[in-house]
C-alpha cells in the first residue's frame, strides 16, 4: 500500500484549559473522498484550522506526501500560506470570497502561489510575465468552466447566488493545484437542487484524481460521496470506516442520538 497523502497522528489542540482536539488520527489516501463528520462542536472545523495552519496545534504530526513519492512534508507549525504552498487547499464554512473582485479574479488569486512575477516583472511586463499572466488566465478560466461559472466570470463575487459562491470557493481552492482539497461544509445552506449539483461537481473533481477531505452535516451527501468516513465527538475520533460500517456503528449512533 502506498503512503497516504495526508497522515495526521495524535493531533491535539488546547484552548486555555479546554481540550478541543484529543489525539486525533486521520489519513486520506490517494484519489479518495474522505469525510469527517460529527455532532456540532465535535471539533471538526478546529481540526481543519489546525491542519491548515490557522491554529498551531498543541501536539501531533501533520504529514503530507505527494502521490507516487515517499518524501513527506511536515505541515505542523507552518503558516496558512505555506501550507497551501505545500499542497493543501481549503474552503470555508462561512464563505470567504473576495467579494469586491470579479469571479475570474477570485480564481486568479488561487494561482498566486504557483506563479512568481513580482515587482520588476509587474513593471517591465516582459515576455515571461506576459506568458505567466496568460497562463493564469487560461487556467482560471478553465476552472470556471469546470464548475460552471464561466459565463459569470466578470461579475463581482458578491453578486453570485449562494450555491454559485460555494462553487467559486471550490474553483479558487483548486486553482492552487492542491494535493488534497479540504471542503468545510460545502453543502451548508444549500437547497436540494444546489446540493445535487454540488454532489455531481465533487464526484467530477474526484474522478480526475483529486483527493478530497470534507466536513459535512448532510448525511445523504456524505454517504453518496465518501469512500471512507471519520467520526468525531468531543474532540476524539470515535469511529472510522466505509459508509456501511459507519451506518451501523453503535458508537456513532450513540454520539448522534444520545443514550
Amino acid at each position: 500500500m502506498t503512503t497516504p497523502i495526508l497522515k495526521v497522528t495524535g493531533l491535539t489542540m488546547d484552548f486555555g484549559g479546554i481540550r478541543a482536539l484529543d489525539s486525533v488520527d486521520l489519513d486520506v489516501r490517494q484519489g479518495e473522498i474522505a469525510a469527517l463528520i460529527g455532532p456540532n462542536g465535535a471539533g471538526k472545523t478546529t481540526f481543519f484550522n489546525c491542519v491548515t495552519g490557522i491554529y498551531i496545534p498543541t501536539a501531533g504530526e501533520v504529514m503530507l506526501t505527494p502521490a507516487g513519492s515517499n518524501k513527506s512534508k511536515n505541515l505542523k507549525g507552518l503558516k496558512p500560506n505555506q501550507v497551501t504552498q505545500r499542497g493543501l487547499a481549503r474552503t470555508f464554512q462561512n464563505i470567504r470570497l473576495f467579494s469586491r473582485m470579479t469571479v475570474l479574479e477570485n480564481v486568479m488569486i488561487g494561482r498566486h502561489c504557483r506563479t512568481k512575477a513580482f515587482i520588476l516583472g509587474a513593471i517591465l511586463r516582459n515576455r515571461a510575465t506576459r506568458r505567466e499572466e496568460r497562463k493564469i488566465l487560461e487556467y482560471s478560466y478553465a476552472l470556471l468552466e469546470k464548475v460552471g461559472l464561466a459565463n459569470q466570470a466578470d461579475e463581482f463575487a458578491e453578486n453570485l447566488s449562494y450555491g454559485a459562491q460555494r462553487r467559486l470557493e471550490i474553483a479558487r481552492a483548486l486553482a492552487t493545484e492542491p494535493l488534497l482539497l479540504l471542503l468545510d461544509e460545502p453543502a451548508a445552506g444549500m437547497n436540494p437542487q444546489e446540493t445535487k449539483e454540488l454532489d455531481e461537481l465533487i464526484k467530477k473533481i474526484s474522478r480526475e484524481g483529486q483527493a478530497i477531505l470534507l466536513i459535512e452535516h448532510d448525511m445523504k451527501l456524505v454517504m453518496s460521496l465518501s469512500d471512507r468516513i471519520f467520526v468525531m465527538d468531543y474532540g476524539k475520533m470515535i469511529a472510522k470506516g466505509n459508509p456501511a460500517e459507519i451506518r451501523t456503528n453503535p458508537d456513532v449512533i450513540k454520539a448522534y442520538l444520545g443514550e
Binding site: N49, F92, Q93
Partner: protein, 300 residues
C-alpha cells in the same frame, strides 16, 4: 525625596485628567468598535466653552463659586451636544461600512473641529482664568502638591464613582453593557441601540469636558490644538489599560501619567510627547489587548 513625591503627585494628576478623556474612548470603542478620533476635539471644545463662559461671567462680576459651577455645567452640556451631533453626522451613517470608513470620517471630523475653533475663535494661546484658589490648609505642602492637583484628584474620583454607579445599576448602564457585548442581541431583546450609542457619546463627552476644564485651569492656557495631543495620549492610556475596559482606562491613564511625569523629570523634558507615542507603539505591537483587556479571537 521631595522631588520624587512632587513628580509622583504631578503624574497622578496627569493620569486623572487622561482618565477622564480615556473613558470616552474606551466606552465608545466598547460599544461600536470605533476609535473616536474626534474625542480629543470634544475635550478641547469643553475647555474652550468653559473658558468663554468663565471669562464672560468674571467680566460681569459673578462670584467665583457660581463661575465654576456654571462654566463646568456649560462645558459638559455643550461638549455632550457636540458628541451627540458628531455621532449622528459622521458615524451613524457608516455603521455598516467597512471598518476603516468611520475612522477616516472621525479623522476628518477632528480636523474640521480644530479648524472650526481656530476660525471661530483664535489661533493664539488664551490665558485661562484661575478658578481654583490656593487653599490655606495646603500651605505647608504647597511646594510639592498644588491646590489644583487636589481638586483635580477629588473631582476625578467623584466622577468615577458616579460613572461606575451609572454603568452598574441604572437602566441605561445595563443597556450599555448589553450593547457592548452583542449589539444584535441587544436589539432583539428590545434595547434601542441608537439611544444607547447616543448616551455613550453624551456621557463620554461630558467627562472629557470636565477634564478639559480642569486641565485648562491647572495649566492656565488653552488653544485650538490641545485636543490632538491630549486625544492621542488618552487613547494611548485607553489601549494601555485594554480598550473597552473601564477600570483599564483608569489604570492605563495613571500608568501613562506617572511614566510621563518621571520620564520628563528624570530623563529629559524635550521628548515628553515621544515617550507617550513610543509607549503607544510598543503596547500596540506587543500587547494589543492591554493590561486588563480581553484577547480578541478571530473566528474562522
Amino acid at each position: 525625596m521631595d522631588y520624587f513625591i512632587e513628580l509622583f503627585c504631578s503624574g497622578i494628576t496627569r493620569g486623572a485628567i487622561y482618565a477622564l478623556i480615556a473613558l470616552g474612548y474606551t466606552m465608545v470603542y466598547g460599544i461600536i468598535g470605533l476609535i473616536n478620533f474626534a474625542h480629543g476635539e470634544i475635550y478641547m471644545i469643553g475647555a474652550f466653552t468653559s473658558f468663554i463662559v468663565a471669562t464672560v461671567l468674571s467680566i460681569y462680576g459673578f462670584p467665583l463659586l457660581a463661575i465654576i459651577v456654571v462654566a463646568g455645567v456649560a462645558a459638559a452640556v455643550w461638549s455632550s451636544a457636540y458628541g451627540f451631533t458628531i455621532e449622528k453626522i459622521a458615524y451613524k451613517p457608516l455603521r455598516h461600512a467597512p471598518r476603516l470608513s468611520p475612522l477616516i470620517s472621525a479623522i476628518g471630523m477632528s480636523i474640521f473641529l480644530q479648524n472650526y475653533v481656530l476660525l471661530a475663535q483664535t489661533s493664539d494661546f488664551l490665558p485661562f482664568p484661575e478658578l481654583i484658589p490656593d487653599f490655606a490648609f495646603m500651605e505647608p505642602i504647597a511646594h510639592i502638591v498644588g491646590s489644583s492637583d487636589l481638586v483635580i484628584l477629588i473631582t476625578t474620583t467623584v466622577v468615577m464613582i458616579i460613572l461606575t454607579f451609572v454603568i452598574k445599576f441604572t437602566r441605561i448602564g445595563k443597556a450599555m453593557r448589553a450593547t457592548a457585548q452583542d449589539r444584535t442581541m441587544a436589539m432583539l431583546v428590545g434595547i434601542n441601540v441608537n439611544n444607547v450609542i447616543s448616551a455613550t457619546f453624551i456621557i463620554g463627552s461630558a467627562l472629557a469636558a470636565i477634564g478639559g476644564m480642569l486641565i485648562a485651569s491647572h495649566i492656565g492656557q488653552i488653544n485650538f490644538y490641545i485636543g490632538f495631543i491630549a486625544g492621542i495620549k488618552a487613547f494611548t492610556a485607553a489601549v494601555l489599560g485594554g480598550i473597552g475596559s473601564i477600570p483599564g482606562a483608569v489604570l492605563g491613564s495613571l500608568v501613562l501619567g506617572l511614566t510621563e511625569s518621571f520620564a520628563t523629570g528624570y530623563v529629559s523634558s524635550d521628548y515628553e510627547d515621544v515617550f507617550a507615542f513610543a509607549l503607544l507603539v510598543l503596547i500596540l505591537i506587543f500587547k494589543p489587548s492591554g493590561l486588563l483587556g480581553k484577547d480578541e479571537t478571530q473566528k474562522v
